[in-house]
Amino acid sequence: MIYSVVQAVIITAIVAFCALQMLRRLMPKLSHDLQVRGSKALNRADLPAVVQSIGQKLQPVEAPDSGCGSGCGSCKGCSTSFEIKD
């Protein structure tokens, strides 16, 4: 009985983690929006401090701009993209 519960918990955790990873990979915008919404919902002032801290941790870290304005210089000033009319 205990073994059944333990294996169900382990498998559920692994599968949930993998599903989240796939969501992040295949739908980065949706995953980001969901993360922001979740973070805001948990970070409300009327909720306990523990829940608020989880909400703060859930807030996505804004990565610096990776385009030409970032100053990375890795492309040595080459053009990064161009427009093709669809």
């Binding site: 294996q7 100053g71 053009s79």
Partner: protein, 611 residues
């Protein structure tokens, strides 16, 4: 005290940006030039006398011929023609002292602009280390331009340059009387001021005489590539067998130790059966990159580009396409990103469209599995591995297909202009063991990260789809036939039946879109769940060889030459072209080619061999 404005110009990789960083430190502003996506970097520093020096780091370019936006910007700013930009008081032309044969050509072009300039002879420490002697006084006299030695990567390496800029010397405008023969002028100046280490240049010349010979060069390149693929198959066998044995042992331990249930199925089928089926190919990937790194370190790879330039231009490709296409043999994603160095948009699109045809390292596990399972491990002429020969042929097929597609695209192009390639041919050198070890370590880590990252993730989800819902009461078929994955596999099987794919292959192709090698782990998982023997997936090769026909195996190999089984590659095409249309066209033509090639392969093999 008035402000001095200087512009740094030079070939790519001359150390110009390092010099800019050394001079300006953190006092930089990075933006784009108006209307184009070319980076504009400006900074300043205060010289010891208190004089403010504004520094503009112009885009690296091989020439001032206005062929690309970066070249146009560099030329226009130097001449004060660009609107909204101040004309620099002084042009600081930066040249790599270890490769003056190439860099002096650009120096001469800048000199012809007739603007005040000085030459910063960078990487002087590296030049001395290599035994290159440069008489700066003679160089100065021959060029008619002030020459200052710099070592941009060292803290005090720009002291002389700063002192010169601080001295408030009236900027010197060079005399631009020229013979008109740029290469002749460069040769004359080099003969007068530069002494190359005799041994190095002698060895370079002798080796180039053989390796770049118009008749011998291409056959030697073919032989080298051939040896690499022979080694991939023959050298890797003991290590692969050891990994297979470890996986079989681990599978046995799990089967005997854990009670029946989901956890046992997950570990045995998804982890050992799925991931174990891919990890087996680590030795082959390491051996392949061992050779690629040796060729790169020894200075042979740029020569291979030189040898293939003629062939590529005949297929309608520019010489600049070589590096992106070469990178695509590791992975199409950096290859497609490397097309940024191609100025002509049409050339760039052609290169992007054919990059997925180059055989990336993710295809290696698929090819190796099928070749190992279906083709005999016999010797041709008594010493050549037949399996290695077939792998070599798969790589050649990818390259040949790319050239053919490029040729077809070229037929529809209105603009037939050619863009010549200028490239540096470095001196030959013995590969450094430490660099090799670091490079191989990185490749092994990348492969392992893929196994523990995307392959693990996709395989876990496939395991869920292959396990649920469970077998109904009274069900006689294996569990997987009643699962979601089984249902999808059976549903799409008719589409792929004409090319010989069974439903298990159809199931594996779907998660295989996340990354090509996932198809191998997916097959491992699907067959492990289908079978009653828990260790069956550790011998995936022998299992599929007993269940598939040769025609199916060859058809799947043909499919993998063309099919864009990689969503990340399509995403990068979208990002680099800003166009869904390009993604659609590329994916459409690649899938169509894949289906046609697999169909022809399957039908012909089936006709001659039968089963």
């Amino acid at each position: 005290m008035d402000t001095l404005t200087i512009a740094l110009v030079g070939n790519p990789n001359c150390g110009k940006t390092a010099l800019f960083n050394q001079l300006t430190g953190a006092r930089q502003k990075v933006a784009n030039y108006a209307g184009v996506t070319v980076e504009r970097k400006q900074g300043h520093f205060i010289a010891p006398s208190g004089r403010k020096v504004q520094v503009l780091d112009l885009p690296g370019t091989y020439s001032l011929d206005a062929m690309g936006p970066d070249e146009i910007i560099t030329r226009d700013i130097c001449l004060g023609r660009r609107e909204g930009e101040t004309m620099p008081d002084l042009i600081v032309c930066v040249a790599d002292a270890t490769n003056l044969r190439l860099h002096l050509r650009f120096v001469m072009e800048v000199k012809r602009l007739g603007r005040p300039m000085i030459l910063a002879l960078n990487m002087m420490d590296a030049a001395r280390k290599r035994g290159i002697t440069i008489d700066t006084a003679k160089l100065e006299a021959e060029l008619g331009v002030r020459v200052i030695e710099t070592v941009a990567v060292k803290a005090n390496g720009t002291a002389d340059l700063v002192a010169h800029l601080d001295a408030n010397v009236a900027p010197h405008v060079p005399d631009i009387r020229e013979t008109g023969d740029l290469h002749g002028d460069v040769r004359r100046i080099l003969n007068a001021a530069v002494v190359m280490p005799q041994r190095t240049s002698l060895i370079d010349d002798r080796l180039d005489g053989i390796l770049l010979n118009p008749f011998l060069g291409i056959p030697i390149l073919m032989v080298i590539m051939f040896v690499v693929f022979q080694a991939v198959f023959t050298w890797a066998t003991p290590a692969m067998e050891a990994i297979e044995a470890s996986m079989a042992w681990l599978g046995g331990v799990v089967t005997q130790t854990l009670p029946d249930g989901l956890l046992k199925s997950f570990i045995a089928d998804a982890l050992i059966g799925g991931l174990g089926a891919v990890i087996v190919f680590l030795p082959q990937i390491i051996i392949l990159f061992f050779f690629i790194l040796i060729l790169e370190e020894s200075g042979y790879l740029p020569r291979a580009a030189f040898l293939l330039d003629n062939l590529m231009s005949k297929a309608g490709l520019t010489g600049r396409s070589f590096i992106p296409l070469l990178s695509s043999h590791a992975c199409a994603i950096p290859g497609i990103m490397a097309t940024r160095s191609i100025h002509d948009i049409r050339d760039r699109i052609t290169t992007i469209m054919i990059a997925p045809l180059m055989t990336c390292s993710a295809r290696l596990p698929v090819y190796a599995l099928l070749i190992g399972a279906f083709l005999p491990n016999t010797k041709v002429f008594g010493f050549l591995s037949f399996q290695g020969l077939v792998l070599f042929a798969m790589y050649i097929t990818g390259i040949f297909s790319g050239l053919m597609v490029s040729l077809v695209i070229a037929l529809f192009r209105k603009d037939k202009s050619e863009h010549p390639l200028i490239m540096e041919l470095p001196s030959y050198r013995l590969p450094h063991v430490k660099n090799l070890a670091i490079g191989l370590g990185e490749r092994a880590m990348i492969f392992m990260r893929r196994i523990t990252g995307i392959i693990f993730t996709v395989n876990t989800l496939l395991w869920v789809a292959s396990t649920f819902p469970g077998k109904p009461e009274g069900g006689t078929l294996p569990n997987i036939d009643y699962s979601f994955a089984g249902m999808v596999g059976h549903w799409i099987e008719p589409i792929f039946a004409p090319i010989g794919f069974n439903w298990q292959i159809c199931v594996a192709l779907i998660p295989g879109l996340a990354a090509r090698e996932v198809a191998v782990s997916a097959l491992g998982t699907v067959y492990a769940i289908s079978g009653s023997d828990d260790t069956v997936a550790t011998q995936l090769g022998s299992l599929i060889s007993s269940q598939w026909t040769l025609a199916t195996a060859l058809s799947l190999m043909a499919w993998y030459v063309f099919a864009p089984q990689c969503l990340s590659t399509l995403a990068v095409i979208r990002r680099e072209t800003n166009s869904w249309k390009m993604v659609g066209v590329t994916a459409g033509y690649l899938f169509a080619l894949a289906y046609v090639a697999a169909f022809i392969t399957y039908q012909i093999t089936h006709f001659f061999v039968g089963h």
